[in-house]
C-alpha cells in the first residue's frame, strides 16, 4: 500500500488468482450459470402461461414476490441450510433472474395482436407452430427486454458470492473494505459497472439481430402507427 498508482493501473493486480481477469471470469461464470438456470425455469413457464392464458396469477404473483426478496438475506438462509459452496449462491441469483424473465415472457405473449393469432390458428397452424412462428417472434422485443434487465441485476448482485467465500468481482469490494483499501473498492465498483454496460450493449446487439424489422421498425420507411411491440416498455412491467 501507500503508493499512489490507481488500483486498476497497477500491473500486479492483473495476474494471478486474485487478479482482475480471474475475478472477472469467475463473476461472468456465476452470472451466466444463474441466467441459464433462471431461463430454464422461467421461460417454459412463461411461454405456457402466455400461450394458454392459464395460471396468469402465478406469473404476476411470482414476479412481485421474487422482486421483493432480498438476495443477501436469501443467500444467508441458503448457507445456513446447506453450508458454504456455489449452490446457495446459484439459488439466490436464480431467484433473482426468474421474475423478470417470467413476467416479460408472459406479458409479451399476452400482448401479441389477437387477430394475428386468430389468423394463424384459422389457417391451420398447430399450437406449437402458433407459439414459435407467430407469438414468440412478435413478443421477442419485450422478452429480450426482460433478459436484459435480468442480466443487469445478476451482474450487479453476483458480488454477494464473495461474502460467502467465493470468487468474483465482489472480492475487490469485500477484501478492499476489510483492509480499508478504498481504491480497491472503487476499482471493483467500476469494473462491475463497465461489465454491466458491456453486457447490456452486447444483448442490445443480439436484439437488433434477432428481432424482425417488421416488429422493431428498424430500418423501415414507416407509414402508420408504431409497431405494437414498442408500446410495451419492459422496464414498466
Amino acid at each position: 500500500m501507500g503508493d499512489d498508482t490507481p488500483y486498476l493501473l497497477d500491473g500486479t493486480h492483473w495476474s494471478g488468482p486474485t487478479g482482475i481477469p480471474h475475478l472477472l471470469l469467475a463473476h461472468l461464470g456465476y452470472t451466466g450459470v444463474a441466467l441459464l438456470c433462471g431461463i430454464a425455469i422461467a421461460l417454459p413457464v412463461g411461454l405456457y402461461i402466455g400461450h394458454t392464458g392459464r395460471g396468469s396469477f402465478l406469473a404476476i404473483n411470482a414476479g412481485n414476490a421474487g422482486r421483493s426478496l432480498p438476495t443477501l438475506g436469501l443467500l444467508m438462509l441458503m448457507v445456513t441450510l446447506m453450508g458454504l459452496g456455489f449452490l446457495p449462491v446459484l439459488i439466490a441469483l436464480t431467484v433473482l433472474v426468474i421474475p423478470p424473465i417470467l413476467t416479460t415472457t408472459y406479458a409479451g405473449l399476452r400482448n401479441v395482436d389477437r387477430s394475428a393469432v386468430d389468423a394463424a390458428v384459422g389457417m391451420g397452424m398447430r399450437p406449437w407452430q402458433v407459439l414459435w412462428r407467430v407469438e414468440v417472434p412478435m413478443a421477442l422485443p419485450v422478452m429480450l427486454g426482460g433478459l436484459r434487465s435480468a442480466a443487469l441485476q445478476v451482474v450487479a448482485t453476483a458480488t454477494v458470492a464473495a461474502s460467502v467465500g467465493l470468487s468474483g468481482l465482489g472480492r475487490l469490494l469485500i477484501d478492499g473494505l476489510s483492509v480499508n483499501d478504498y481504491g480497491r473498492v472503487v476499482a471493483g465498483a467500476v469494473v462491475v459497472a463497465v461489465l454491466a454496460i458491456v453486457l447490456d450493449l452486447g444483448l442490445g446487439l443480439v436484439q437488433r439481430y434477432v428481432v424482425s424489422p417488421g416488429v422493431s421498425g428498424r430500418g423501415l420507411r414507416r407509414r402508420g402507427a408504431r409497431a405494437s411491440a414498442e408500446r410495451l416498455d419492459p422496464d414498466l412491467l
Partner: protein, 344 residues
C-alpha cells in the same frame, strides 16, 4: 357446398349463440350472413373451420363432416379472412401470403412464385413483396389478407367482415375487385357483414340472422328487397329498399322516345352521335352538360338516378358505341314503374 344441419352452439357461460341452424351454401357462390350485432354470424362462420365447436348438429363441407377431420388439416383447406387482416407483422408480405403453402410443405421457390402471382391478382404491385405489413395502408393490408387466404387455392373461403375496417372509398374498390376475382375463381364463399348494402352488393344468396342465431330469411338480394319475410327483415333491409330493388331490374324493357325536344331543351350531339349537352330555354343558363347515360343492359336504378339528376329530368340512352339512341323523361319512367306492379 357447405351444409349446416341442426347446428346449435351454447357457450360455457350459457349464451346460446346459434340455435338449430339449417342452411345450405351453394358451391361456387357467395353466401352472405347478415344481421344485427351479436346475432351469431361470426359463431356460425367459425364453426365451419372448427374455430368454434358446435354443441350439437353437423356441418358438411362437400359431403364430409368437418367434425371428423383433424382441425389443422381442415383449416389449411379453407381460406380465412378476418376484419383487421391479422397479418404477421414480423414477416414480409410475400412470406405472409405463403403461410399456408409453407404449412403444406411446399418448397420455398414454389411458395414465393405462387405468392407473387397472387399479389398481382389482388392488385398489389410486386414491389410490395418484401415490405412488412406496417409499411402498408389498411386497404393494402386487407388485400394481402385476401391473397394469403387464396394462397393454397382452397375451394372454400370464410370471410368475417373483410372490408369493414377500411374507409368507404377503399371499401367500394375492394368490393369491386373481390367480385371480379370471384368471377374468375368461383370459390364457395361464406361472408359475414352487418351492412345490408354490402350484403346486397356481394351476395348471390343472403342469410338474414336475427338475435339468438335464428334465420329470419334466406334468399337472393332481389327476393329480400322485394319480398321481405316479416317486419324484422323489412326493418333490417331499410326504408329505401324499393329504390335499391331497382338495381335488379333491367332497363331493357323500358320504352324510350326518339331524340328530340324535351321540356324546352334539345340534346346536342358530337360528330359521331355521342351526347354532349342540353341546350335551350328550358335549361337554366341555356346549356348544361349530359353527366351520365345508360344502356339497355343497365338497371332501372341507374335510369332513375339519371332522370332525377338530369337538368331536364330526362335520362339519355346510348348504344354500345356510346351514340345516343333514345330519351326517357321521368314521367315515362314513373308510368313504367307503376305498370310493372299493376295486375296483368
Amino acid at each position: 357446398m357447405i351444409t349446416f344441419e341442426h347446428i346449435r352452439k351454447q357457450f360455457p357461460d350459457g349464451t346460446v349463440a346459434v340455435d338449430d341452424l339449417d342452411l345450405e351454401l351453394p358451391s361456387g357462390k357467395i353466401t352472405v350472413f347478415v344481421g344485427p350485432s351479436g346475432c351469431g354470424k361470426t359463431t356460425s362462420l367459425r364453426m365451419i373451420n372448427r374455430m368454434v365447436e358446435p354443441t350439437s348438429g353437423r356441418i358438411l363441407v362437400d359431403g364430409e363432416d368437418v367434425l371428423e377431420k383433424d382441425p389443422a388439416v381442415l383449416r389449411r383447406g379453407i381460406g380465412y379472412v378476418i376484419q383487421h387482416a391479422g397479418l404477421f407483422p414480423h414477416r414480409t408480405v410475400v412470406d405472409n401470403v405463403a403461410t399456408v403453402p409453407h404449412l403444406l410443405g411446399r418448397s420455398k421457390k414454389e411458395r414465393r412464385a405462387a405468392a407473387m402471382e397472387l399479389l398481382e391478382r389482388v392488385g398489389l404491385p410486386t414491389a410490395f413483396a418484401d415490405r412488412y405489413p406496417s409499411q402498408l395502408s389498411g386497404g393494402q393490408q386487407q388485400r394481402v389478407g385476401v391473397a394469403r387466404a387464396l394462397a393454397a387455392d382452397p375451394p372454400v373461403m370464410l370471410m368475417d367482415e373483410p372490408f369493414s375496417a377500411v374507409d368507404p372509398v377503399v371499401r367500394d374498390q375492394l368490393q369491386q375487385e373481390f367480385l371480379r376475382l370471384q368471377s374468375e375463381l368461383g370459390k364457395t364463399i361464406a361472408l359475414v357483414t352487418h351492412d345490408i348494402d354490402e350484403a346486397v352488393k356481394l351476395g348471390d344468396t343472403i342469410a338474414v340472422f336475427r338475435a339468438g342465431g335464428h334465420l329470419a330469411q334466406v334468399g337472393t338480394p332481389q327476393e329480400l328487397l322485394e319480398r321481405p319475410a316479416d317486419d324484422f327483415v323489412r326493418d333490417f333491409v331499410g326504408r329505401d329498399r324499393g329504390f335499391r330493388g331497382l338495381s335488379f331490374e333491367s332497363a331493357a324493357s323500358l320504352p324510350v322516345r326518339p331524340l328530340g325536344e324535351v321540356g324546352g331543351a334539345r340534346l346536342v350531339l358530337d360528330d359521331s352521335g355521342r351526347p354532349v349537352c342540353w341546350e335551350g330555354p328550358g335549361v337554366r343558363g341555356g346549356s348544361a352538360p349530359v353527366e351520365g347515360t345508360f344502356t339497355a343492359h343497365d338497371s332501372l336504378r341507374l335510369v332513375t338516378d339519371l332522370a332525377l339528376s338530369s337538368p331536364v329530368a330526362t335520362a339519355v340512352r346510348v348504344d354500345g358505341a356510346g351514340r345516343a339512341d333514345g330519351l326517357v323523361p321521368h314521367h315515362d319512367l314513373v308510368d313504367h314503374l307503376a305498370a310493372r306492379r299493376a295486375p296483368a
